[in-house]
Every structure is written in C-alpha cells, then in structure tokens.
C-alpha cells in the first residue's frame, strides 16, 4: 500500500464516522415530519375533516382604486366611478342552469349572454367569483336584491371604473385603460407586480406611461362563508393601497384654446414653457372620446376610428413626423454662422433659382428676393440663400447642429410611441441605402426638405431653446406625482438635455432674424405681429410632392397633395415664456394656415397671464 492510499483510507474512515452523524440528522428530520403528520391527521384530523366538508374559507380580492390624473391646476382629467357588477360563484349556485334561468328572468338579461359568460369561465375553480355582467343598471340591481334568496351564489359587487370627464379633450395625452391582455400578463416587470386576468392596465398615453404609479396595490379579505356562499365573518384583511395621483404640466385652459384653434384642421399644436420645458398644451386633431374604450367600443366605432384618413388615434404632436421645411432654416443659419460659412454681412443675390450641376433648384419666390443677408433671408425665407450656405456647410455639419438641438432622436417626454424623426448624415445614408451622399441632396436638406423628419414637439423644443438663450430642456408633461395621502413622490425639475453649441453672438443673429419674420414688413409672417407682445418665429411649408417646377399658384392641387403648413414661434419677453409649434396638414402656406394659430395662442396666453396679475 502506498502512502497515498493510506491517506485515502484514513480519509474514508473519517467519512464513515461522519456518515453515522448524517444518518442521525436525517432520521431526526423525518421523525419531525411524521410527528407533524400525526398531529395534523390524528390529533386535529376531526376538526380539519369538518372544515373540509364545505370549505368555508375563501379569498375575496378587493381592487385598489386607480390614481387620478389632474392638470396643473387640479382639474380632474381621469377619475373613477363605482360600477355594479353581477357575479356568480358556481359552487354555491347549484343547480347552475336553474339559477341562471331565474336570474335571466328576474333581471331581464338575455340567457345566451349569461350562459356564454359561464362557459367562458369553465376552467375557473368553482368557488371563485365569475363576472356575469359589468355595470348593471338600478332596475337589475333591484331585481337581484328582491329575489336574493332565490338566487344562490349570485352577488352584486361594486368595483371601480375609469371615466374621463373631458371626453375628447387631451385624449391622446391622457390615454385610456383596458383589460390586461395575455401578452401584458406575461410581461416581465422590474417590480415584479403581477396582473391577473380582468385587471385594468394603461394602454396608451399617461395611463400607460405612468401605469406603475397609477395602479394601486390590490387588497383582499380572507372570509368565512356559509353553505350558500354568504360571508359570515371576515378573518383577515389586507388593505389595498390606492394608486398615486398624477398631475400634468398641462394647463386645461390653454389646452382647450389650443384644441379650439386647430379644431378645423388636421394637425397638432404644442405649447411649451421655455423656461423649464414643461408642456402647457399638447393638442392633436382630430381626437376621439376616451370613455367608449372603458364601457365597450363597438366594432363599428373602432373601424371608423382606424379607417379615418386623418388618423384620430395618432398623437400628431409626438408621433407624426413631418419634413420641418423652412422652420429648419433656424438650424442651417446657426450652423452657417457658427462654422464661419456666413456672418451677418454675408450677402447673396437671389434670382429665384439656384443652379447646381445642371439642375435648377427654385426659390419659393420665383421672381427672386434680390440681394439678401442672413436676416432678410430668414425674414423672407429665401431658399437660395440657404442653398448657398447649405452647400458650403455640407450635410454633416448641418446635422451636427440639428442633433445638438435635440432633433433626430426622441425628446424623452413621458409618453410612449414617441417618434424620433430623422436627421440625415452622409454616414446614415451609406449605412441605410448603401450609396454615398450626393452634394445635391444637401441643398434640399438645408431648407428642411429631403430626408429630414421632425415631430411638432421636437420643433417646439428647438424653438424654446432659441427663446431661452440656448438651453435644450427635455420636454416634460408630468408636474407632480403624489400618493393618495398627498405625499409627493416626484416633482418636475427642469432637465437640461444639452445646450446649443453656438456663441451668444450667433444666437443673437438668429433671434434677430426670427424677430424680423414677424416684425419686419417684408417678413413672411408680418400679418401676425402683435402690439402688446413681441412674437418671433419661423414659417414653413413642407412639400410632400417634390416637384418644385410645378408651383403655379393658379393650378389647384388635390387636397391630399397640398403642402403641410408649419409655424414655430415664441414670445421674446421672458415674463411670458411661451413657445408654440403648429403643424396643419395640407394647410399649404405656413404664413396663412399656421402662423395665425400661434399668434392667437400667444395672445391668449398673454391676456390670461395679464388677467391673472391684475
């Protein structure tokens, strides 16, 4: 025997000693199990046998009320109302067919409907409550109560249901709740909250994005019931926790004004407080009533909503992406000034067109603007000036400033399905289409056409950053979240996404140009100037059919091919820090279709602020 084997065998002796101890432990553990079994089955057996005869301990779950949604001034936008729900416990309702027959007769509910509900819940344990009909009316309630003793296992429960008092107003922002679907049931959640079949969950808008705050924590009771399923005694109660209340930054009055301003159009309006990025109003037209989504939307109504070419379900302020058109000249101007391609003295002569590589690019004014500088080019929205500067800049240098201003990516507002827009670069085109950038394409990009896409919210954010001196705030729509008891769990604080990478001088020049758009007699939006408050802004006319030669004003263009009208504007007085962006789909000219809406909004804001101060 070698030394090694000796160690091993001594080791094994040691293990054999240990095994004895191990066996003892195992036997002790199993003896405990047997003693416990004996206790449960023999000592307490009789008692448990009786309790099992008709199992009288049940669980009743109690839904927690969902948190409310308010505007910034505590106006209720979403709240709960009681709903009377008819339910059945199959185990108690025996014979089930007879009970249901009687119920149908007394309460005047169609028998087929009831049977369908019962059949749909065949897999549910017999002692669990099954919903037969939600939201029954008073007559049905009375009938069920009167015949209570003839209807074993039938009960009327009160549950809470969502309602939206503002109906169509702010529908896109508020969103709605609906019953949780199988995909949502199986979704992995950070906080591991478990939804159950029949629970309500936010589907879109704030209802969805703030779901974890709005939903409460379900409570319940362990109750003792008698043979007919009636509660005799409550054994244990777990209090549910109501959801948190969410306050939006939206001001209901401004919102209503915004909605009325765009009510005749297909489009969107966003109003920002440029001192902190709070969204004061976000309107998208056409809109839709939220309440039918709770009480049950008919197939017809749904089909109507989704087949409407004006896309009422879409929140155009954040989901629709449009070419920014001439509003994008703000970006091109910043880039040109900052990169030294142009300064305030740079002059260009506009003959009404621009030749580049045997292609002619037209200015919107085919007679030409004559000699222009950066100020008059912005004021009159001269395309040729920006063709020149854009050509010198190249696409990538323009994109740098657009991205720094927050374009080309989601703003990060607390709403889902936000569009990010698109800011093209040469690298993007190479990657996406596999071909190199052509210099001619820069010319379209410089005036906001081509591949450029932005949302109205993004353009409002850019406008706000010009207005506030260069700070790009993340737009926010949540003012405050507090518990049902009023303890604040979240409060909006201005969040800087970044700063415009431009010198104060460049900013000053851009602002002066935007001021002239509205306040210089030759400006494209001179019509909307106000005496009481100075408006600065930029018009835009986004072509959807790119055929610049075909701009004969006398030729009628089919409505759905007409250009989209843009206007972005702000009040230059920091006492009234408001920035507005508007898109009117197929509104044709920014100066006619969009600019007056912004003017009216700023005037309304100014007057109500002044009114409040007095």
């Amino acid at each position: 025997m070698s030394d090694d084997d000796e160690i091993k065998s001594s080791e094994n002796d040691w293990y054999r000693q240990r095994l004895g101890g191990l066996m003892f432990c195992v036997m002790t553990a199993f003896a405990m199990l047997i003693i416990r079994l004996f206790h449960l089955q023999n000592v307490q057996g009789e008692e448990f046998r009786q309790r099992a005869e008709y199992n009288y301990i049940r669980i009743q779950s109690v839904d927690a009320p969902r948190g409310l949604i308010f505007d910034r001034n505590r106006k209720v936008l979403a709240d709960n109302r009681p709903s009377l729900d008819l339910a059945i416990v199959l185990k108690d309702a025996k014979p089930v067919d007879e009970t249901i027959g009687k119920l149908s007769e007394y309460a005047n509910i169609s028998l087929e409907e009831l049977i369908a509900k019962v059949n749909a819940n065949r897999g549910v344990p017999a002692y669990k409550s099954v919903l037969l009909k939600a939201d029954i009316n008073m007559d049905m309630l009375a009938a069920v109560e009167v015949h209570k003793f003839d209807l074993p296992g039938i009960s009327v429960n009160i549950s809470s249901r969502r309602q939206y008092p503002e109906k169509e107003s702010m529908a896109h922002v508020i969103g709605y709740v609906g019953e949780v679907n199988s995909q949502e049931l199986n979704e992995e959640r950070e906080d591991e909250y478990e939804y159950r079949v029949g629970d309500y969950i936010g589907k879109i808008g704030i209802e969805k994005s703030q779901e974890e705050f709005l939903r409460g924590t379900r409570g319940g009771r362990q109750v003792e019931v008698d043979a007919k399923g009636r509660v005799v005694r409550v054994l244990k109660t777990v209090e549910g926790k109501p959801g948190h209340n969410v306050y939006l930054t939206i001001d209901d009055e401004l919102q209503k004004k915004a909605e009325s301003l765009i009510s005749a159009t297909t489009g969107a309006m966003v109003v920002l407080d440029y001192s902190n990025g709070e969204v004061l109003a976000m309107a998208s037209n056409p809109s839709f009533d939220l309440n039918p989504f709770i009480t049950g939307l008919s197939r017809d109504a749904w089909n109507k909503l989704i087949s409407n070419p004006a896309r009422p379900l879409e929140n155009k302020a954040i989901q629709a992406e449009y070419p920014p058109a001439s509003t994008y000249k703000i970006i091109t101007a910043m880039a040109a000034l900052e990169e030294g391609v142009a300064n305030e003295r740079t002059g260009v002569s506009c003959p009404g067109y621009y030749h580049f590589k045997d292609h002619t690019y037209r200015c919107w004014n085919k007679f030409g603007h004559g000699p222009v500088n950066v100020f008059s080019a912005m004021a009159q929205s001269c395309d040729v000036f920006f063709y020149h500067t854009g050509q010198k800049l190249g696409v990538d240098r323009i994109a740098k400033y657009a991205k720094a201003a927050g374009l080309g990516s989601r703003t990060g507002i607390e709403l889902d399905h936000e569009g990010g827009g698109l800011i093209p670069t040469s690298e993007w085109k190479k990657r996406r289409m596999g071909v190199s950038w052509r210099a001619g394409e820069t010319i379209s990009v410089a005036i906001g056409q081509g591949y450029n896409l932005t949302t109205p919210l993004q353009m409002a954010m850019v406008t706000a950053s010009i207005a506030n001196g260069g700070i790009v705030y993340r737009p926010t729509i949540i003012k405050k979240i507090e518990t049902a008891e009023g303890y604040v769990v979240h409060e909006a604080a201005p969040e800087e996404k970044g700063r415009l990478p431009i010198s104060p001088k460049t900013l000053e020049i851009v602002r002066k140009g935007l001021k002239q758009v509205v306040n210089s007699p030759s400006g494209t939006a001179y019509k909307i100037r106000l005496a009481q408050i100075e408006i600065c802004g930029k018009t835009g006319t986004a072509q959807i059919v790119s055929n610049p030669k075909d701009d004969d004003p006398k030729r009628k263009v089919a409505a759905h091919l007409r250009s989209h009208a843009w206007f972005v504007g702000y009040s230059s007085s920091e006492k009234y820090p408001i920035a507005v962006s508007v898109i009117v789909e197929h509104g044709e000219h920014g100066s006619d279709a969009a600019a007056p809406l912004v003017r009216n909004m700023i005037r309304y804001y100014y007057e109500s602020e002044v009114g409040h101060q007095e």
């Binding site: 079994l37 448990f48 319940g220």
Partner: protein, 368 residues
C-alpha cells in the same frame, strides 16, 4: 463494455425503491389531475409516464459508464449547466412572475434542476482532490464558495428563492460532510450572520424584502401563500387515519389546493390516503436516503463517497423541504417532491441521481 461482474452487483434494492416511489407518484398524479376541469391537465398524467420512460434511459446512462469518469467531466458539466442558466436569463420563458424555463419546441427544461447535480459533482471532485487530514481552512473553501455562488446567484435572479436555497443547502451539506476546521466553520457562520444586516438594509429593494419575509412567514400574505398553507393543512388533516380514498379528496377536487399536481401533490396524497399512506411515503423516502448514505458508506474512495452523499443530499433536501412546506413547517417555496410531483426536469434529475447512486453502488467492489 459491460462487465458481467457489474450485472451481478446491480443494485436491485435501489431499483425497487425507485419503482415504489414512481408508482406512488403516478397514482397520486392521476388523482390530482383528474380533479382539474381542463383536458390539458389530464394530459399531464400521460406526459409524466413519458417522463419516467425517458428518466429510465437517463438512469441507465448514469450508471452505464464508471462514475469515476464524472471526475474528469466535472468541469464541462458544470460549465454547461451554468451556460444553460445564463441562457434562461437571456432567452428564458417568463411565466408566473419568474423566468425559469428554456423552451425547445414542445419541451420546456428547467436548468436549475440539473444544476443541483452539477454542483454536487464538481464539489465532490474538488473536495476529493483537496481534502486534508487536518481539515479545510478558509482558503481552501474559496473555490467551492465561488462554485456555489455562481448558480445560486443566477437562480436567485430568476427569481426562484426555493431552488436557490436548495442549491445552497446541498452545497453546505457536502461541505460540512468533509472535514473543516472548527475555527473556520465558526468564523464563516459568524461572518454570514454579521453580513446579513447590511445586505438586508441596503442591497435589497422593498419588494424583495417583502418576498423574503413572506417566504419565512406565510401568514404575512393571508391572500396568497398563507391561504395556500391553510388549505393544504385542511387537505392533509382531513385525510385523518385512513384517508378519503383514491380520487375522493374534496380539497383536491374543488381546486382549493394550489399547484396540486406539482408542489402541493403531497397534500393530495395525504388527503386521500390518510396518515397510513402519507407516513408510509415519508418512511419510503427515509429508506431511500439511508440507502443512499449506505452506498456512500460502502464506497472505498473519497470521490464516490462524497458524490453519493451529495446526490442523496439532493433527494433529502427536496423531499424534506417540500413535505415540510405543505405541512406548514417550512417556508412556502416552489420545490417539487422527488418522483411524485409532475415535471419533466424534476423526474429526469431525480432518475439521474438514482443512476449515479447505482453506479457507485455497483462499482464499490471493483478494483483497478
């Protein structure tokens, strides 16, 4: 490949014990799923037969080749199982609040079941290579600690506290079985106790704390775990001395029992077969475990001994925790009852354990 002497030494006793347990399981499962209203439930009974069929193949595979080969294969097996757990984290199927399964077409695999065996094999290898007559020191325990911590962490993350705890308990039992210095043992226990407070206060989120508290005290959750335990106790107790008879359990029939075909299947058995039946099952498990330890006793080299102890430890902890839980003696955890609960991964891993025990048992008389 198969020595005739091996056939001669085949462990018939172990096979008979396994057959007894398997039959008890199938009979109880038949009753448990017949109560359910869905056809999907009833098909589980047929599926379990298939699992046992496949399990026999796994068992034969586990004893066919000399178990000493496992020592060489310990690292790849361990790595493979950890890989599977990582896959669960990345592509696992999310169901009922956790991610535990990998789905391959119609079959779902729960890698944490296999992981238990892999941990036992690799620890057996490590301890048999590194055991010292004077006992293991703290330094010697670092590697086993890491080897346990990796699967433990991955399983906690799923989250599956019950299985993670079982992995820990199995690893701890194997470690305590080999010689550790007293000072080291006391030092480790002390450190663990001291570390608990800061982890509890700072590392865990509120809902995680709640989950552990409920785990330890089901009464904190009278609508969930607490209610299940009450119903389970009613089921077991109402079985009384002789039970209500096969397929006669009312608790089971009315679906008062949660998970009655998996974690709470013992309650179904106890309700229908009474104290006579349920105590017999407990004794059957006890015999199996003593039998396993006896195989360890008979083995003449450390790897086989530690391996047998570890594998027996898996069966012990799973059966003890599961039965203790349904009787209200233990935290409510999702640990299946070996051979009885429905579940492919569980049946496979248990049959693999039996195969390994047979392997060690058959070859204890062999000398190279």
């Amino acid at each position: 490949m198969f020595d005739r002497r091996l056939a001669y030494h085949f462990d018939w006793g172990l096979l008979i014990l396994t057959i007894f347990l398997g039959c008890a399981g199938l009979i109880t499962l038949h009753s448990a799923v017949s109560a359910g209203s869905g056809d999907a439930q009833k098909s589980l009974y047929i599926k379990q037969w298939i699992w046992f069929g496949a399990g026999i193949i796994v068992m034969v595979a586990s004893f066919a080749a000399d178990y000493k080969n496992l020592k060489r294969w310990a690292k790849p097996i361990y790595g493979f199982c950890v890989g599977l757990l990582v896959c669960v984290m990345l592509f696992g199927r999310y169901a009922g609040g956790s991610k535990r399964w990998l789905t391959f077409g119609p079959v779902s695999l729960q890698p944490s079941e296999l992981m238990k065996i892999a941990v036992v094999i690799i620890l057996a290898k490590y301890y048999s290579d590194n055991a010292k007559p004077e006992g293991m020191t703290l330094k010697d325990l670092i590697i086993p600690f890491i080897l346990t911590l990796i699967p433990f962490g991955l399983i906690v993350k799923q989250p599956d506290l019950g299985t993670a705890m079982t992995v820990f308990l199995i690893a701890a039992s194997v470690t305590l079985f080999v010689k550790i210095r007293w000072r080291t043992f006391l030092g480790l226990t002390g450190t663990a106790l001291v570390l608990m407070a800061p982890v509890w206060l700072f590392a865990l989120k509120e809902y995680q704390r709640q989950r552990i508290l409920t785990f330890l005290d089901p009464d904190r959750d009278p609508l969930g775990a607490g209610y299940h335990i009450i119903q389970s106790k009613i089921a077991i107790g109402s079985g009384m001395m002789y039970g209500k008879g096969w397929m006669q359990g009312s608790q089971n029939a009315l679906s008062f029992l949660p998970e009655h075909h998996t974690d709470f299947i013992f309650s179904v058995l106890a309700e229908e077969w009474g104290f006579v039946g349920s105590a017999s099952l407990v004794v059957l498990f006890l015999i199996l475990i003593i039998y396993g330890l006896n195989i360890a006793y008979g083995c003449k080299e450390p790897f086989g001994t530690i391996l047998s102890v570890g594998v027996t430890g898996i069966i012990f902890w799973q059966s003890f925790i599961n039965m203790g839980m349904v009787m209200g003696l233990m935290p409510v955890v999702g640990v299946p009852l070996p051979f009885i609960s429905y579940g492919g991964s569980s049946v496979m891993s248990m049959m693999c354990c039996i195969g390994i025990l047979m392997n060690v048992s058959m070859r204890r008389f062999m000398f190279e």
